[in-house]
């Protein structure tokens, strides 16, 4: 191997790291397209629309942000894995079940990789999926309402990083455990064992979530894999449709100080999974059902209310017993991203510590499997011969190559984290064609459709990890930076630089025309079957049930009905069930009560939302609308009288006079 060669290069690494760090102080501005040409390309006139919807993961915010491309306008933030006080996602009674897990209610999660649903390998604009790493979950977001419709928990997984990647017809969303954990043989339960016995007990799983035509998600099967860390994934397409590829690191099976101990092996692996074969095994009842409690939370559209369903078991397939499920592709030095080109021929790995970008050939991989060109076997999984499957290596691709996306002209674009640049190269010849500096340390990059079979290869967005000195400073915490690069010509050109919420980990984009026509503008009141809905002011009322008080309230410009409520007592549990009677686009009403230990409510037109308040002090408490809804918004308010515990004030309510 070229190990000696590699090692000598590695010596140079600290020097380059230090050099690049010194350069942060004086960013070179020469590539900044600060000229009329760049300005024109990103200018979207007032009232005109952007060409693409860009979806950027919120990283540690747990949400998904929506941006217009090319303007870089922040359009919206969709709450997914974290509570959002703005609109009571995770605070209202209707949305709380979305965050149910087998660990109980989990109000925060880190969101990572959004991926659009696809039909025939092309993003179709129905849904976007996104994964959470910390408490392994995958969410499905409905793109007609830009709301989270479903969240499924992944059992037998510890850290769900390598998801949510879809197959070309959204048959499956795949997921993989980032951290391996000790699992008993019988039921894969997490065990109480010494951490030092890592190599004996620790295992991982790859999960395949089946997606129904209506979007309903269910874990079809999990595949047991050796105790490595599984990092990223992408599905095959075209000739490689039916396969999925997962990177792994820590094939050393270290359990402490991984920065050193997991960087020893010259090669780690890409796991090539024949998911179609696995699905056949699963359908035939192969493998076994094991305990695997996990929640599936979904929005019941009839009542606009989230429901939780506990699923007890999961099917597990074992490559030691079932042949042809997985093959390991040796891949240099801790590969991070794995990306399949639009033709489906090439599998590109980003070796974090590698000085080349290895490009595997799917055709050669299949030949190698047929010819049994194996270097060895790990836990029943054959390891293919590196040279037999290699299409080529991209030389001099920049330092720390991480992720690759593709245009529609046979070019690949790879982020180099350490050398802070994007490198453009030719997929066939593996020759570097162009490079552009980024500011600074790009992780993922995104080309609209760039991981599908139809890239709209006009723009590239670099999602950078370091932001300092790009914008007006905001103290120690800075939003991450995204950079829009024009890739329509031979040379890449920087067009725009804009801050993004949280850590925009990965992103997707789709032509606006595939999403915009399907937008819901308001919920039809006559289709609102929420059990606590009121369809008109004549149905509003207040009812006492023991120490629970249920207030069935309506909102319309510009009053609440009722707006005077009496008879509530300290120690009561007060449920505000509020229906927004508006049937007009963009007229939500808000609701907040002084001192409430919860959030506000934001109620969309035609929707019913419930929030719970437990009054602790005697007095007359104001409530009001928080969303400026009309000329008399400020008048949209009311009072609720709280009497002492045990007082005999009767329930009374009204609006008007």
């Amino acid at each position: 191997m070229k190990l000696a060669n590699f090692k000598s290069l590695l010596w140079g690494l600290p020097v380059i790291v230090i050099l690049s760090m010194l350069m942060y102080g004086c960013p070179s501005q020469q590539q900044l397209g600060a000229n009329a040409d760049a300005a024109q390309k990103v200018y979207v006139a007032p009232g005109e629309y952007d060409e693409f919807y860009g979806f950027m993961s919120g990283g540690y915010s747990g949400q998904l942000s929506v941006y217009g491309i090319p303007s870089g306008r922040h359009l919206y933030t969709i709450p997914v894995f974290s509570q959002e006080a703005t609109n009571a996602y995770g605070y209202s009674e209707e949305s709380k079940p979305m965050l149910n897990t087998t660990h109980g209610f989990v109000p925060w999660g880190d969101s990572h990789h959004p991926e659009l649903s696809q039909t025939d390998g092309v993003p179709d604009g129905r849904w976007i999926f996104i994964n959470e790493n910390n408490t392994p979950r995958v969410a499905r977001i409905n793109l007609s309402t830009f709301t989270t419709d479903e969240i499924i928990e992944i059992p037998n997984s510890a850290g769900n990083h390598a998801s949510s990647f879809v197959t070309p017809n959204t048959e499956y969303v795949s997921a993989a455990t980032r951290f391996s954990i000790p699992m008993d043989d019988e039921n894969l339960n997490n065990e109480d064992v010494p951490i030092s016995e890592y190599s004996e007990h620790f295992k991982g799983t790859l999960s395949f979530i089946k997606v129904g035509d209506d979007g309903k998600m269910g874990i079809d099967f999990q595949i047991l894999v050796p105790g490595f860390d599984y990092d990223l994934s992408h599905a095959g397409k075209g000739p490689s449709d039916g396969w999925s590829f997962f990177t792994s690191y820590n094939s050393e099976q270290a359990h402490t100080l991984l920065e050193v101990n997991a960087s020893k092996n010259d090669k780690d692996f890409i796991a090539a999974v024949n998911w179609r074969k696995a699905a056949e095994y699963a359908a035939a009842g192969e493998g076994r059902m094991v305990e695997g409690e996990h929640y599936r939370n979904y929005v019941d559209h009839d009542t606009h209310t989230a429901k939780s369903e506990l699923i007890e078991e999961v099917r597990v397939l074992d490559p030691r017993e079932l042949e042809g499920l997985i093959y390991f592709l040796p891949t240099p030095k801790s590969p991070h991203g794995v990306d399949v080109d639009p033709s489906g021929q090439y599998i590109v790995a980003g070796g974090k510590l590698s000085t080349v970008i290895p490009v595997h050939s799917f055709e050669k991989m299949i030949q190698a499997i047929e010819n049994e060109e194996f270097e060895g076997e790990i836990d029943g999984i054959p390891v293919l011969n590196y040279d037999a499957i290699l299409h080529g290596e991209v030389e001099n691709p920049g330092l720390g190559p991480l992720h690759t996306e593709f245009d529609d002209r046979g070019n690949a674009y790879t982020t180099a984290f350490i050398s802070s640049e994007i490198v453009k190269w030719d997929l066939e010849t593996t020759q570097v064609l162009d490079r552009i500096q980024t500011y600074y340390s790009p992780g993922h990059l995104m080309i609209p459709g760039g991981d599908s079979q139809k890239p709209w290869g006009k723009y590239l967005v670099a999602l950078n990890k370091i932001t300092k000195d790009r914008y007006l400073p905001t103290g120690p915490e800075l939003f991450h930076s995204a950079q829009l690069i024009d890739i329509s010509g031979e040379k890449m050109k920087l067009l725009l630089d804009f801050p993004t919420e949280g850590e925009p980990h990965y992103a997707q984009a789709i032509p606006a025309d595939l999403v915009r026509p399907n937008q819901t503008q308001f919920y039809k009141l006559e289709e609102n079957n929420h059990p606590d809905a009121v369809k008109g002011e004549d149905e509003t009322r207040v009812e006492r049930d023991g120490n629970e008080v249920h207030i069935y309230m309506s909102t319309i410009r510009t009053h609440f009905a009722p707006d005077n409520i009496e008879g509530v007592k300290v120690g009561d549990k007060v449920y505000f069930h509020i229906t927004n009677l508006e049937q007009d686009w963009d007229i939500p009403h808000g609701f907040a009560v002084k001192g409430m230990n919860n959030s506000e409510l934001l109620i969309m037109p035609g929707e019913t939302r419930t929030i719970v308040w437990e009054p602790k002090k005697v007095g007359v408490i104001p409530f009001y609308c928080t969303d400026f809804c009309s000329a008399l918004h400020q008048e949209m308010q009311g009072y609720i009288r709280v009497s002492p515990e045990g007082s005999d004030v009767e329930i009374a309510y009204g609006t008007g006079q």
């Binding site: 319309i556 508006e582 049937q583 007009d584 000329a631 008399l632």
Partner: protein
């Protein structure tokens, strides 16, 4: 009457069936906050929003200035109109089968009188809605009334109201023109026959 004229007269009568399905008048409102427009379509038997929710939204907006709610069920005209049109269809067919040119003219005059009465009534109805305001309204502009125009456009606070005949009206107009044509051809062709 000649057979072809009887047929034409029958068509004139039958054209009025369209009024049961198509709106006869429309009022459109434009405002900065409603770039997509909001409006009402007036049928012989009901008033509908151009979009299903428009009526509710217009009533919601109107309550600020103290206008009455537009409630189709409580508008008497919408109850009288369908039988009046039915009467015109039936009498038109009777004229087509048994009538002569004088009957045609009588039917046409009756139709036109009813149409004029309808427009006058519509004006009065608009007048009442625009002037008869709740004294406790939130927004009171001295001297301001909110009567939409009978035909054409008019600025009402932040809204520009456009009132125009809709498709049903043109079916009624076509019916009148056909009946007039029958009367005219009968007269001309009758004279020709006398002269020859």
């Amino acid at each position: 009457m000649k057979t072809k004229h009887r047929i034409t007269m029958a068509i004139a009568a039958l054209l009025l069936i369209a009024l049961y399905f198509l709106p006869i008048w429309s009022i459109s409102l434009e405002a900065p906050q409603y770039p997509e427009g909001i409006g009402l379509n007036i049928h012989i038997h009901t008033i509908e929003g151009k979009q299903p929710q428009d009526l509710q939204n217009i009533n919601g907006l109107n309550h600020y200035i103290g206008m009455k709610k537009i409630e189709p069920d409580s508008i008497a005209e919408l109850k009288y109109m369908p039988p009046i049109i039915a009467f015109l269809i039936v009498t038109g067919l009777v004229v087509a089968i048994w009538g002569n040119k004088k009957w045609v003219m009588t039917w046409l005059i009756l139709f036109m009188l009813l149409a004029v009465a309808g427009l006058v009534d519509f004006y009065l109805w608009e007048y009442d809605y625009g002037h008869n305001l709740n004294p406790n309204a939130a927004i009171k502009v001295p001297g301001m009334t909110y009567q939409p125009p009978l035909i054409g456009s008019k600025a009402l606070l932040n809204f520009n109201a456009v009132s125009l005949p809709h498709t049903g009206f043109f079916f009624a107009l076509a019916s009148m023109v056909l009946a007039g044509l029958v009367w005219w051809r009968e007269r001309v062709e009758g004279k020709d026959e006398k002269n020859s």
